[in-house]
């Protein structure tokens, strides 16, 4: 009888350990994927800078647009009645 109990207990213990090992495995996996997120600031910053650079030439508040293209350039025109 006690042998059966021991085996049952032992099985439970092994099952428990298997579950724990599984959880640890997931943690390790998550940990390694977290190495790639978050990005290093140097990399993230380089991307922000690159976007600014690519779009600077077409940013009207940064480089301005010719008067003819900016509808707000003239002060409010007189309304001809």
């Amino acid at each position: 009888m006690s042998t059966n109990n021991n085996i049952a207990q032992a099985r439970k213990l092994v099952e428990q350990l298997r579950i724990e090992a599984g959880i640890e495995r997931i943690k390790v996996k998550q940990y390694f994927s977290s190495l790639f997120f978050p990005l290093l600031v140097s990399k993230a910053a380089a991307d922000l800078m690159s976007y600014c650079d690519q779009h600077a030439r077409s940013d009207p508040l940064l480089v301005g647009v010719p008067t003819s293209e900016n509808p707000f350039k003239d002060k409010k025109p007189c309304i001809i009645l």
Binding site: T3, N6, I7, A10, L13, V14, L17, E20, A21, E24, K27, V28, Y31, L35, F37, P38, L39, L40, V41, S42, K43, A44, A45, A46, D47, L48, M49, Y51, C52, Q54, H55, A56, S58, D59, P60, L61, L62, V63, G64, V65, N70, P71, F72, K73, D74, K75, K76, I79
Partner: protein
């Protein structure tokens, strides 16, 4: 190390336990080592990385239009996609639609409540949404007939249990995202008024929100009185990232044009930039001389400039990459309460407690 259990058990149990313990220790050691290495590399801010970037010259920006007509504090404004119409809302309950080119008022609605803190233009340009102390967000279809009473076609969409602080249509006229003093954000179907998703996580009033640029996917950022800026997944309702570095209420949040970062403006008198992929704050825009809170922020088209409207009546223009101020603009005679750059980036509009709105451009 013999265990008291039966022999078969001993051979099975000990190696497993030991291996686990060994692996645990090893992974802890590795983790610490890696964090140490990361910490050495992390001590960079955006402005340090941007040292080699060419500085910006002198900036002269002037008011080119002044929109007068509100009888009290302007609290919110939004541009229409046509880059010329503007909707604004005020403390006196009035919502006005303007043609910013001519400064003419095209529509006016009186809300049943005062303090209309939020308003938004529908992507189609055919409707506006607004709300405030009534705890609701209502949609008004804009009629071509100027004499038609807009209030008659009003549709109540959102219902919160406290004031409506901000609202925004999503990619279409069909859905609206709201934030409220009740501490939640919510996504609503305009036609049925049905609640599609609610977003819980802020510990106090949510004051602002901004949708990610459509290319980046279904997320939005919100800022609140709990000093937190939260990034949310619109489909699941989950908060996927949270940032808490401000020292006071966050009044405004706005995505960087690429969608990889967002800026915030706070009562702590600073604006900050948070990079979503680095998962941290990467820049602070502040000066010792600036002691009044920021009410609203927005980026220029390229993301190089950040405009901030302040409670000391001024607008500060920041070089996003270098962290320096490139211009300070005067003109309003009371707090600047709202600020948005036009859809094509040619101008930006500010609304103020001085009852007016101003449209500004770069003089060159």
């Amino acid at each position: 190390m013999r265990s008291p259990l039966s022999p078969e058990m001993a051979t099975q149990e000990v190696p497993l336990n030991e291996t686990l313990a060994h692996l645990k220790t090893e992974s802890e050691t590795l983790k610490l080592k890696l964090e140490e290495e990361r910490a050495k590399l992390h001590d960079v801010e955006l402005h340090q990385v941007a040292e080699k970037v060419e500085g910006l010259g002198q900036f002269v920006m002037k008011t080119r239009r002044t929109l007068k007509g509100h009888g009290n504090k302007v609290l919110c404004m939004d541009w229409c996609k046509d880059k010329r119409r503007i909707v604004s809302s005020s403390q006196d309950g009035k919502v006005i639609v303007w043609d910013a080119f001519t400064t003419n008022k095209e529509h006016a609605v009186t809300m049943p409540c005062t303090w209309v803190m939020a308003c938004a233009y529908a992507p189609s340009g055919c409707a506006v949404a607004c709300g405030g102390l009534d705890n609701k967000c209502s949609v008004y279809p804009l009629s071509l007939d100027k004499n038609e009473n807009l209030a008659a076609k009003k549709k109540s969409v959102a219902m919160h249990t406290n004031y409506l602080s901000a609202c925004s249509f999503t990619n279409s006229d069909m859905q609206i995202l709201t934030s409220s003093g009740d501490g939640t954000c919510a996504l609503w179907d305009v036609e049925s008024g049905q609640l599609l998703q609610s977003f819980h996580g802020h510990a106090a009033d949510v004051l602002c929100l901004d949708l990610a640029p459509s290319e980046t996917g279904n997320t939005f950022v919100s800022g609140g009185c709990d000093k937190k800026a939260n990034v949310w997944d619109m489909r699941s309702g989950q908060c996927i990232q949270s940032f808490e570095t401000h020292e006071s209420d966050i009044n405004s949040v706005r995505y960087y044009p690429s969608g990889d970062a967002f800026a915030s403006g706070s009562d702590d008198a600073t604006c900050r930039l948070y990079d979503l992929r680095a998962d941290r704050e990467v820049a602070i825009y502040s000066k010792e001389s600036i002691i009044f809170g920021v009410s609203s922020v927005d980026f220029s088209l390229s993301g190089r400039l950040l405009f901030g409207g302040y409670n000391d009546y001024t607008i500060n223009v920041w070089d996003v990459l270098k962290g320096t101020r490139v211009s300070i603009l005067f003109g309003h005679e009371n707090r600047v309460s709202t600020l948005r750059v036009s859809p094509d980036g040619t101008a930006f509009c500010t609304g103020s407690w001085d009852h007016t709105l101003r449209v500004w451009i770069l003089m060159c």
